[in-house]
């Protein structure tokens, strides 16, 4: 077994050696909290990884399952006083498994589909037709969703109101700044944002333009790579990273902005991912250093305070990939508080994972539901009418949770509210009932 391991890319010893097993990470782990057993927590995963890497345990399907059961919310990485990153180690173990036995469907999904925006758009066409043809409305009116198995019904509820056309086809290559140009920025078009939440990304571009940004949106970008990373295909992530770096090298932008927490955390990681790749280390580091989450960027520049009002009670959920992935958590709150009429109320346990974790609602349905239920209990306690969160994964999860409970809370991107406040300046009053 050791011989096979020797030829694989595996985490260096320092990633696990100094774990003294104090157990502090278990206090913040959403999966441990639900199962209350050692293998479902970060300390257990680190122990399993180490024992496998040191040849004491086989790479069994059960061991790998423990690595996939991790939500990669990174709460353990953050709290560890030793500097061990258990969530990262779980991802590395998935990568080891993929290197030793590649799975065909992953090649098709992450190699054949995700890197190709046009194929992604074709593949999601039935979903858009479902919405656009009125079929979805009909299904709801007739309560047909009740006929679906529980999990499928919850997955259906994940879908936001789908755009007619993917944003990639709608957004111009260059959106000029309103008034004098102060910044030239690149906008990274995320897959989920473009395909599912395109109105939010359109709002992001509007808000940027209003604040003196000329926004360049390259259409040939590929998936940031996070889905492939979650499923252990670091090779594909690196290929996608190289492609995206090249795309933005061709533009003359100072900053690369994204409105997707997940994309942002991955793009910022390109430097580390390609650190040991000749000819790429410097380019990747330069690329990553220019990436900003939209709320981060807006907090850095002299922002025009909107004079329009949005009268509603708002709370905010921290996406893991923003708070821990990028240490961005004050900025979205600051933006929301800037809006007249917004009654901002802090969400209890705002930085606990919502249970989305990419695809956990599909792959780890029961756990995902438990984690999500806790989030919704906390949401109900705030009395908020709107919950903001700058991550499509979190938004889909929150949408599902809200439909399941039948409560009337609107899920938005923080920038959407900012956009509405700007739009309201012209006497237009946005409708918050939907």
């Amino acid at each position: 077994m050791m011989n096979i391991l020797d030829s694989l890319e595996k985490p260096p010893e320092k990633e696990y050696l100094n774990c003294i097993r104090c157990g502090l990470c278990m206090a913040v782990c959403p999966t441990y909290r639900e199962y209350l057993k050692e293998a479902a927590g970060p300390r257990g995963r680190v122990a399993l990884a180490r024992k496998n890497l040191e040849g004491q345990l086989e790479l069994t399907s059960n061991l790998i399952e423990q690595m996939y059961a991790c939500f990669a919310c990174m709460a353990c990485n953050e709290i560890c006083p030793v500097g061990i990153r258990p969530a990262e180690l779980a991802l590395s173990m998935r990568h080891i498994e993929e290197q030793s036995s590649q799975t065909g469907w992953k090649q098709m999904l992450f190699g054949g589909l995700l890197p190709h925006p046009n194929r992604m758009e074709t593949a999601t066409l039935p979903l858009r037709l479902y919405e656009r043809s009125g079929l979805r409305k009909l299904v709801y009116r007739l309560s047909l969703t009740r006929l679906l198995p529980r999990q499928i019904r919850d997955l259906e509820a994940m879908l936001p109101h789908l755009p007619q056309r993917p944003l990639r086809h709608v957004l111009p290559d260059v959106t000029p700044a309103r008034g004098q140009e102060k910044f030239r920025i690149g906008f990274f078009l995320g897959c989920a944002q473009s395909l599912l939440f395109s109105e939010q990304s359109a709002a992001t571009v509007r808000v940027l333009a209003r604040n003196g940004c000329t926004v360049i949106t390259p259409k040939e970008v590929e998936c940031c790579g996070m889905p492939a990373r979650g499923y252990g295909r670091l090779d594909l992530v690196r290929a996608q990273a190289k492609h995206n770096i090249e795309v933005f090298e061709k533009t003359d932008v100072e900053t690369i902005v994204t409105d997707c927490a997940t994309c942002g955390s991955t793009l910022k990681d390109y430097g580390a991912l390609l650190h040991d790749y000749e000819g790429w280390a410097v380019r990747a580091a330069a690329f990553s250093s220019r990436v900003r989450d939209v709320s981060e960027f807006l907090a850095e520049i002299p922002l025009k305070k909107p004079t329009g009002r949005v009268d509603t009670r708002v709370t905010y959920h921290d996406p893991c990939h923003l708070r821990r992935g990028q240490n961005v958590w004050k900025q979205p709150r600051t933006l929301l508080s800037l809006i007249d009429g917004v009654d901002f109320v802090e969400l209890p346990e705002a930085d606990w994972c919502c249970g989305s974790a990419g695809s956990q609602l599909i792959t780890h349905y029961e756990t995902s539901l438990k984690v999500m239920d806790r989030k919704l209990d906390n949401l109900a306690n705030t009395g908020a009418q709107v919950i903001a969160s700058g991550c499509p994964g979190c938004q889909m999860q929150l949408n599902t949770a809200i439909r399941r409970r039948g409560v009337a809370v609107r899920v938005v991107h923080p920038v959407t509210l900012l956009d509405e406040a700007y739009e309201a300046e012209n006497g237009y009053s946005p409708d918050h009932s939907s």
């Binding site: 003294i20 502090l24 345990l57 423990q66 006083p81 500097g83």
Partner: protein
Amino acid sequence: MDTHLIIHLEKTLGKANVLHTPEDLAVYSYDGTFAEGSPDLVCLPETTEQVSQIVRLAAEAHVPIVPRGMGSGLAAGSIPMPTGGIVLCLTRMNHILEIDTENATVRAEAGVVTADLQTAVEKMGLFYPPDPSSIRHSTIGGNVACNAGGPRCLKYGVTGDYVLGLTVVLADGQILKTGQKTIKDVTGYDLNGLFTGSEGTLGLVTEVLLRLIAKPRYARTALAEFASLDDACRTVNAILQAGIVPASLELMDQTAILCIEDALHLGLNTDVEASLIIETDGTDEQSVLSEIEASSRICQESGARLVKMAQNEAERNNLWKARRSMAPALARLAPNKLGEDITVPRSAIPEVVHRLRAISAKYGLPIAIFGHAGDGNLHPNILFDKRQPEQWAKAEQMVAEIFDASLAVGGTLSGEHGVGVLKRPYLERALGPLSIEVQRHIKQALDPLNILNPGKIFPV
């Protein structure tokens, strides 16, 4: 392990609560130390009745039972070594059963996380003071089994001082209830005291009834930095002799401060030989303030270079975050750490610290020193790499010398971690043969088959 027994246990607990895959056994083979020993089976009971049934079945089959909470112990007390057997993990018994505000008591299952218990009672204006550093990742049952301490114990006393009653599953499966909601009770032997700190060797605690006090309304915290470790140690006694009883009086030496600053970047000065964290608390704002001010003055008179008062809750939290993360942060310097918790009469603190530094110099391995100086409870941590045999050998010799140093100045082996496996070899020199014989008789009377956490406490 006997498949017959496994089938019985699965019937009793449900299959999901009986674990035996190699992966599950591997992750129940350790605690917060470097020691390891694999169980043959792991049970996750949800009721006292289930615990009783497990014990009955295990007793019939003469299989050892090793109780465990979140496995944060620092003496290898919850590791199934050297005998294997059943790890009985109580984390799923995590309900707070009753908070009685009139009598100021709380009744909870053993698997409740101590911090959760504190949060719950504090919502009702009540207070459970013991605060081991593992407060968020240890259970109240584990705290009782080890008689856990913590910084606040200087003023408020240790876990055992709050135990009013226990539900204990005995070695034959019978369920014993001790105590009740009264503060005073001399009706018969003090069984609460007997089971508290017995590390699961006399019975399995499944439920606790704890005394609470009113929540102090104010707290003030200060950090005092000293150019000399000696001065810092002497200051501890000076404060206490001035008639001030701070809630906490914590010491950190330079090695410890360097580690924590490296880990958390809190802006602590690292060019000092030692720091003290002092906290006063109470219900009267003015007296809390005057006590912290008086403590600060004493620090300055005793040679403190700088005394900083936390100006708000965030600054106060930062200081405590530093202190709580101290032990694990040491692991940044070396793959292994051997953390002891010797306790000495507080007049002997300067002397024992001298001896600790001499031991470190003699063997050439670092010892970080921090701890609850106010009650004489120190945590010398030896930093080493267990994979290097000569370092491991040195570390073991150093431990023996640390214990000798503590005993020489009138101290003891352990203030709050317990004996477990790791301190067994030193027990006799601490207690003498007669005390050990008395304790063996107690063990024999309560656990004649020696199936409750065997291999712990008593010398081999």
